[in-house]
Amino acid sequence: MEPMPQISMLSYDVVVIGGGPAGMAAAVKAKELGLNVLLLDENDYLGGILPQCIHPGFGLHYFKEELTGPEFASRLAKRLVELGVEYRTAARVLEIKNYSDLEKVVIFTSPAGVYQVWTKAIIYAAGARERHAFEIGIVGDRVAGIYTAGEAQTLMDIYGILPGKEVVIVGSGDVGLIMARRFALEGAKVKAVIELMPYPGGLARNVMILRDFNIPLYLSHKVVEVRGRGRVQRVKVVRVDENLNETGEEFWIEADTLVISAGLIPSVKKLKKIGVEIDPATGGPVVNDRLETSVPGIFVAGNSLLINDLVDYVAEQGELAAESAKEFIEKGGIESRKWVKVRKGQNVRLIAPHYLSGDRDVYLYLRVARPMENVELRIPEIGKKLRLPVVKPAEMIRLKLRAEEIQKASEKLTVEVVRA
């Protein structure tokens, strides 16, 4: 192991990377379980993206009441402080090194200096990043007035800046819809929400926003081009067919602002560098039922695991990761007699965790590929069946499996969503 001269050394049982809801819940739980834990976040404040989500809709499951993002974050932060969890803000993790199962190093920088932290386990809760205009193939002028939804939200609700007054939103997922409302509430004109798919991408309660604020929604359309001098002046929209190919039908919308809300991608570059296996469907790591990645002792939770719609599940994943870290440290590893592989069947686009031990109950998190009504969620190997009135890609399904159920499977179990 290379010694690093003049770099301050710290030592912990577990380091939590990321101070959003996943990381905070993990750190709180780890502390409650008696672990010596350090939480690191690069921002000046804890909470991850929650402090900028000033709308209600958080915590119905976890705190059993409806909170705003900042409220949810401050509740968790309060618990963290009460318990005396050590944390550092303005602390960016630069690198993770995995020397052996119980010897890992996290290198971070902060205004107090660069540190190397020796730790037995790592909980990775670094959240996600947003897809931007270039990634979705928008061409034309590279001008001001193009923001990702998160950037627009940060400008408005962290820094108090209004980005623009005539807005087109790309993407009808929750984030896009919430930003549409946010702009409308500040007196901006939201001229359109443009959605590639033939159905809206957000939770039903958020799709209502469009009606409430009289905002046109264009399904099966996409923004392909931006023109303007200095700032956005107009955007070109084309209709797509069933196969999402562009039809010739196109029109321009005059606007000074284009907000891109085209999905989130788990931020896992640092994990990839140390060889953590990634699932192309979730964009996050392949994990077992302890949320352990393919590198032993590195656990993952929240939007780095898979993109969640509800912060409650994010916090739940954080707690599980902390329990798993405790188990890992005590037993020197996560062992199981067998690992049952979880497979995606019909109309299942993504699912995690990927391997189940049958030693404990688990929650499976999954999303369907297409919306369907009146369906049955089935796991044929164990004879499980569940009736669901509707399923939508926008709404993550959380399915509890009991240990006894999992034990019935031999090598794999297949989750499928089929017509009832």
């Binding site: 690093m4 630069l94 034309g140 590279r142 800046i161 001098r229």
Partner: protein, 496 residues
């Protein structure tokens, strides 16, 4: 009395000229640029190659042929003196058909004529040893080891910083609108910021050099824009180690596949001629990008899915009548020197162009240039946190905690880096705070997320250091403000 020189245009040409002329005791040099910062014209968006000097025909384009190889040799020295980010990784001009070797032989011969060292034709085995990711159809290549890549805007910035340190005065956001000529001699330039007296006017206005020349009554050439578009991929997408060209056809040098100096696979450019009035049409197009993709695929079949693209952009080549650089003192107007039509390989040639201009001043204008006793050839690059070994970073953070705080998470750019960049902006006279000025100095906002996390933070830093409201900070100059006011501006019925 000193001879007053006004250089119009702070691109790679004007900046190089400013640096070289700053060596002389008896010149007072003014560098005039209409944009808010230097290097935002043609020099901003190009392939960034320091070409080898083998493909300009000395019969047809004598200036290009002469200055390209000279420029290449000078850059090897200048990048060190000025600490300009660069890599000397060489180029391969790849043959995929037997006939291509005829063309490569021609290039080799021309290269020898132009004085290009160390070129040779390599066979298939050696080629795949060098670049295993190439198309299986490749059968050999011309290897030109002296080719390299630099950061073109960082280069302009470095040159201007060095020129300013040596006494050059900059005038940014100053557009030349007229040239005063009396009795056949230049007297100075009229600008939106008043009249600037000058005995010598150097027209290095890039795409607009024809318009500026016309202001002095010179109209024998025209410049039309030729667009080139590019794709840039995320930094974990594998690219080649060397610059890859297809064998050129009579029409085009072809689509280049390269790993640019920050480690991103880059492909482009195509070539599309635009009418002269479209000198500000920098829009990317679906058709152009498709052409680039198809072209690149022929050399580099393993292009990643389009979702790994992190940026697309376009540049405009200033194509002059006749095709060669127009670098000369105009006889009808004493003191007026054209540095026009600086199309490719203009970036490569810039240092040689600058010496050529000094030569013209001495030879054609008869001004004896006297070297300064003290002239500083060196300039230090700003701190880049991502380049520091941890113990060095630690030392710096102990002195100034801002260096420990990361602002751009993709490229690990610290707040200290950004504050240094802002200081440097002020040093060369940047008046309007722009995110792009910070971006080109620090690499912030150029990573995987393209600035969606760090741009708001950079805006805060710029607002504070420039003493303006954050929404007044621009992306790239006036008219590209980040916001229209504070978040309640519309509800109050006011907006910026």
């Amino acid at each position: 009395m000193k001879t007053r020189v006004a250089i119009i245009g702070a691109g790679i040409s004007g900046a190089s000229i400013a640096r070289v002329l700053s060596k002389y005791e008896n010149l007072e040099v003014h560098l005039i640029e209409k944009a808010p910062d230097v290097g935002w014209g043609v020099s901003k968006a190009n392939t960034a190659l320091i070409h080898g000097g083998y493909d300009d025909d000395p019969e047809k384009y004598p200036m290009r042929a002469k200055l390209c190889i000279r420029g290449n040799r000078l850059w090897h020295q200048w990048v060190k003196e000025l600490q300009i980010p660069h890599v000397w990784n060489g180029a391969l001009i790849v043959a995929t058909k037997e006939e291509d070797f005829d063309e490569l032989e021609k290039l080799l011969e021309r290269g020898h004529k132009n004085g290009v060292p160390e070129m040779r034709i390599i066979d298939r085995d050696e080629l795949f040893h060098l670049e295993p990711g190439l198309t299986r159809e490749a059968i050999g290549a011309l290897w030109v080891p002296i080719v390299g890549q630099i950061g073109p805007i960082p280069a302009v910035i470095a040159l201007v910083e060095n020129a300013v340190a040596n006494g050059v005065k900059t005038h940014l956001e100053t557009e030349v609108r007229g040239i005063k000529v009396e009795n056949g001699e230049v007297r100075g330039v009229e600008t939106n910021n008043g009249f600037i007296e000058a005995d010598i006017v150097i027209n290095a206005a890039g795409l607009y050099a024809d318009e500026v020349a016309r202001m002095a009554g010179i109209d024998y050439f025209e410049i039309h824009p030729r667009k080139g578009e590019y794709y840039l991929f995320d930094d974990d997408v594998p690219g080649p180690g060397r610059v890859l060209f297809p064998t050129p056809t009579p029409i085009s040098k072809g689509i280049v596949v390269t790993t640019e100096i920050s480690g991103h696979l880059m492909i482009g450019p195509n070539a599309q001629d635009l009418p002269p009035e479209e000198k500000d049409n920098l829009a990317t197009t679906e058709e152009g990008l498709r052409e680039v993709w198809e072209g690149a695929k022929k050399l580099w079949p393993n292009l990643p899915p389009k979702s790994r693209v992190i940026r697309t952009f376009a540049g405009l080549r200033p194509e002059p009548t006749g095709g060669d650089f127009i670098i000369k003192a105009e006889e009808e107007v004493w003191g007026f020197i054209n540095v026009a039509g600086i199309r490719s390989p203009g970036l490569t040639s810039a240092p040689a162009i600058a010496y050529e201009v000094a030569e013209i001043i001495q030879r054609d204008l008869g001004i004896n240039l006297v070297e300064k006793e003290k002239w500083n050839p060196y300039r230090k690059e700003i701190t880049h946190f991502f380049m520091l070994p941890p113990e060095k970073a630690n030392e710096l953070i102990k002195k100034n905690p801002a260096y420990g705080k990361i602002v751009c998470r993709c490229n690990h750019v610290s707040e200290g880096d950004i504050l240094e960049a802002i200081e440097r902006m002020k040093f060369i006279g940047v008046k309007t705070p722009s995110v792009d000025s910070v971006k080109f100095r620090t690499k912030s906002t150029t990573g995987t997320c393209q600035g969606s996390f760090c741009r708001p933070k950079i805006v805060q830093l710029l607002a504070k250091e420039y003493g303006v409201e954050p929404w007044e900070v621009t992306l790239k100059g006036k008219g590209s403000e980040i916001g229209i006011g504070d978040v309640k501006a519309l509800l109050r019925g006011e907006e910026a």
